[in-house]
């Protein structure tokens, strides 16, 4: 079951890329598409940040992950490289759990 989902999503992502380089330009130059598609990653990534920080199953929770996100935010504002942001957040959660 997991494999089917992984392969289907991989195929879908590839087809989107292929569509971009293959379809007639005017199909994708629709102004509505141009103005809306870039907002999809913004909304989805923000929703992922929120749900993966403040929930556990179907419950809203406030735990060490919130502090970890705060540290990640500081790292992002300081323009730290991607891996530093992720490691700083993970280390914060690990350390707070040890306390």
């Amino acid at each position: 079951m997991a494999w089917a989902g992984l392969l289907a999503a991989s195929a879908a992502c590839y087809l989107l890329k292929l569509a971009g380089v293959s379809l007639p330009q005017r199909w994708l130059q629709n102004p509505r598409l141009q103005q809306t598609v870039p907002l999809i990653p913004v909304a989805l990534l923000a929703a992922l940040v929120a749900t993966q920080t403040f929930s556990s199953g179907h419950h809203l929770v406030l735990d060490v992950r919130a502090a970890a996100l705060g540290v990640a935010l500081i790292a992002v504002l300081l323009r730290a490289p991607f891996l530093v942001v992720v490691v700083a957040a993970a280390a914060t959660a690990a350390l707070l759990r040890l306390l």
Binding site: A2, V21, P31, Q35, T36, A43, P81
Partner: protein, 214 residues
Amino acid sequence: MIRDALGIGIASGAYALSFGAIATTAGLSLIQTVSLSVLMFTGASQFALVGVLGAGGSVWAGAATATLLGSRNALYGLRLSGLLNVRGMRRFAAAHFVIDETTAMAIAREDEHEARFAFWATGVAIFTLWNLGTLIGALATHALSNPKVLGLDAAPPAAFLALLAPRLRSREPIAIAVAAGVVALVVLPFVPTGIPLLIVAALVALLGLRPVKK
């Protein structure tokens, strides 16, 4: 230019380490994790898929989110198609490399020949190091007895935040990001895991019905 491509490749490889670790923590096998990096090869979608799985969502909710995140690559492809001018079999190879980084590197060049070179050099460098990084991250995490001790459950939100930050350069995306986060949390207790993301995506699609900005 090769140095730029390598620099981006190395940065991607480092970021792939965290993808390998997060995917493994989410329960994917080594071969599944590596297959995603080879076949999907678009970072935000990969992180989203394993993020949804790790939170207990179904693989299909994760797959749908990954696909929606991949939609922007179609617009990148559109911008690149005139520049790359690829035909036949090469187009199928070029399509696989259409991601944030290769697009940014290619459209930054003034000269068409340089743009093409930047696209392929960045694509090959990232593809190689992205997959190598994924493999190392997954292998290292497999060797751990309990990844949660290392705080790896706090890693995905940080990864999503780092992917989100460069897209928040004006008021509209910031407002949309805040609204999306709030809506996702409000509906979360009432729907299956992963579905809040799809609700948010549907609301964004409704924004597409707005009058077109000049």
